[in-house]
Amino acid sequence: MSFASASRRKSFGSALTVAAVFVFACLPFLLGHLAGSSAPYWLDVLNTVGLYAILALSLNIILGHAGLFHMGHAAFFAVGAYVSAILNLTFDWPIMATIPAAALAAGLLAGLVAWPVVHLSGDYLLIVTIGIVEIVRIALTNDIFGLTGGPNGLVGISRPEIMGFRLTRPQHFFYLIWGLVAVSVLLFDWLERSRFGRALKYIREDVVAAESMGVNTNKYKILAFVIGAAWAGLAGTVYASRMRTISPESFNFTESVFLFIIVILGGRGNQKGVLLGSFLVMGLPEIFRGFENKRLLVFGAALVIMMIFRPGGLLPARSPGYKLPEPYRSRYKRLPDLSSGGVFNGAGSRANGPNASASEGFASGQAAAPSSGSGESSDSSKVISVDVGQDLVK
């Protein structure tokens, strides 16, 4: 693989992405021409997909990055929606102003709920999160504090107003929702590549090792829940103002299941996968109408099949690339990705037992790069010395 073609491929990929995003952004106008009178319907579908995407991206932090089994995400969505609705209806807050409160409330609930239970192992945490979402729903249905309107919910929530402009039509919500999707993708990408994101991944891979490496695992598990929940709360506000009516049934266990499926099927830990999952799980049934009833049946089976053949999901998680600082960037630029362990190591050099090959050429403190490399790297002439005592003596 020559360097030139790799970079050309990358820039072609980016150009394609930009083009796709541009076309997508023009959809509200294009649909008018393509679909005519059913355009509003399809815009609505896209808006639903987008909303689920925001929720799924926030769940991805908890389930995908941190690997915490969580099937109660709808509860946080519900809290955000209800807090916004109550502030708007009872206290006349403009919808957009309720967003911080909604996020805060959802985040707080998550923190409170997670704190006593994060140390539980996988299956049990799952059960607890299911229990929580049910308790929240029951509380909402039973008109807790007299504010939630009981089983009929709350009606007449205002539309959002941004700088004097009122969002009323699907087109408006399209830009709001998908704008939020874009923001989510960006922020969460930054998060993934940071100390925080890495900490979550360490917890997912091996929680004991993570703790032994200085990651306060309980704290980060709770924080993962908090940030995921807060974002879901934000989505709740958008939902409330879009539907103008909310009721406990919109936030039941099945919704949590859908979100879970989106993340797992799409690719946990991979934002592109999650987006793909949102389109598949929420969008496909709209295209294949008869599918509606059998939706969960198919997805249930899909989960089993996916776990057998491709447990990482359709687009599995990938290590984020790092931009190494100089001098390391140029020093290691040309080396091929040796994730197979390299030709040199012979057949199947896995960590299952002592392996002779790696250290050949490692005589007296001089490590030659080719030791774990292959014939390819013999021209890179990188001889890395173990003898770096002088740099590191404190």
Partner: protein
């Protein structure tokens, strides 16, 4: 000037006494070997020091500060790092990501600065990437930074664990069978690495069964058997100590 001090340390699991009344000291700038037959309680002592399990009785002091009741992650930030007997790398993550985990405790970026990619966080990331690459070069694995940790050959995985521990900027390094499963070549390389670690003024305590490795590398030995410390001293003395010899070789005479 003891860096680490164990005082009457005892650990019981239900009815089983794994470690019984162990007291000893480790001075800074030394390499101490903890040896003894299997089941003597050596890894348990390590787990007690690193906080992975709780003390039943006694206390452990690091640089004068008691470690009792502290979380493992807290103990790491105090300056104690470890490797594991059975390798516990983050198998699915890259070599670089694995070493970066060591840097975690020395960083300060939190949730918000990470989410918003603030300049301070960006600077810190750059510094930490540099540190990680330095450690990787130290053990000779830098060229593999992109590879998945699980794909590395066994000896390299052990080295990676060491690099990861070194990235925490420790004053005290605990190695649990660092030469386990290594062949001649790899063991020689490991010895070089140990020498280099020594030059960095890091105190080391290790469990090892490879006696020639131990004799070459350690300047002080602690010998355990059945949960108790039965001898300590310089390697040459220990070699001749009758109690030690009996512990290792006297098993045929046991009526267990």
């Amino acid at each position: 000037m003891a860096l680490l001090s164990l005082q009457k340390v005892t650990k019981t699991f239900g009815g089983l006494v794994a470690v019984s009344d162990v007291s000893c000291e480790v001075s800074s700038d030394s390499v101490v070997g903890l040896i003894g037959p299997n089941g003597a309680g050596k890894t348990t002592v390590f787990n007690l020091i690193t906080g992975s399990i709780r003390l039943t009785e006694g206390d452990i002091f690091f640089d004068g500060k008691s470690l009792k009741g502290l979380r493992p992650s807290r103990i790491v930030s105090l300056g104690i790092a470890r490797t594991f007997q059975s390798i516990r790398l983050f198998q699915g993550l890259s070599v670089l990501d694995n070493v970066l985990s060591g840097c975690h405790c020395r960083m300060r970026s939190g949730l918000f600065s990470s989410l918003l990619h603030l300049p301070g966080q960006r600077r810190e990331e750059k510094a930490v990437l540099e540190r990680a690459m330095i450690e990787l070069e130290f053990v000779g694995l830098a060229h593999l930074f992109r590879s998945a940790a699980g794909s590395l050959p066994y000896g390299d995985q052990r080295k990676l664990e060491i690099a990861r521990a070194l990235a925490t900027d420790p004053r005290f390094l605990i190695l649990d069978e660092p030469a386990g499963g290594m062949n001649e070549q790899e063991t020689m390389t490991l010895r070089e690495i140990m020498k280099a670690i020594r030059k960095r003024n890091i105190t080391v305590m290790l469990i090892e069964h490879d006696m020639s490795f131990v004799m070459h590398v350690c300047d002080h030995l602690l010998v355990m058997e059945n949960g108790q410390l039965i001898a300590q001293g310089a390697p040459q003395e220990i070699q001749k100590n009758p109690k030690v010899i009996e512990a290792y070789l006297g098993l045929e005479d046991d009526d267990e």
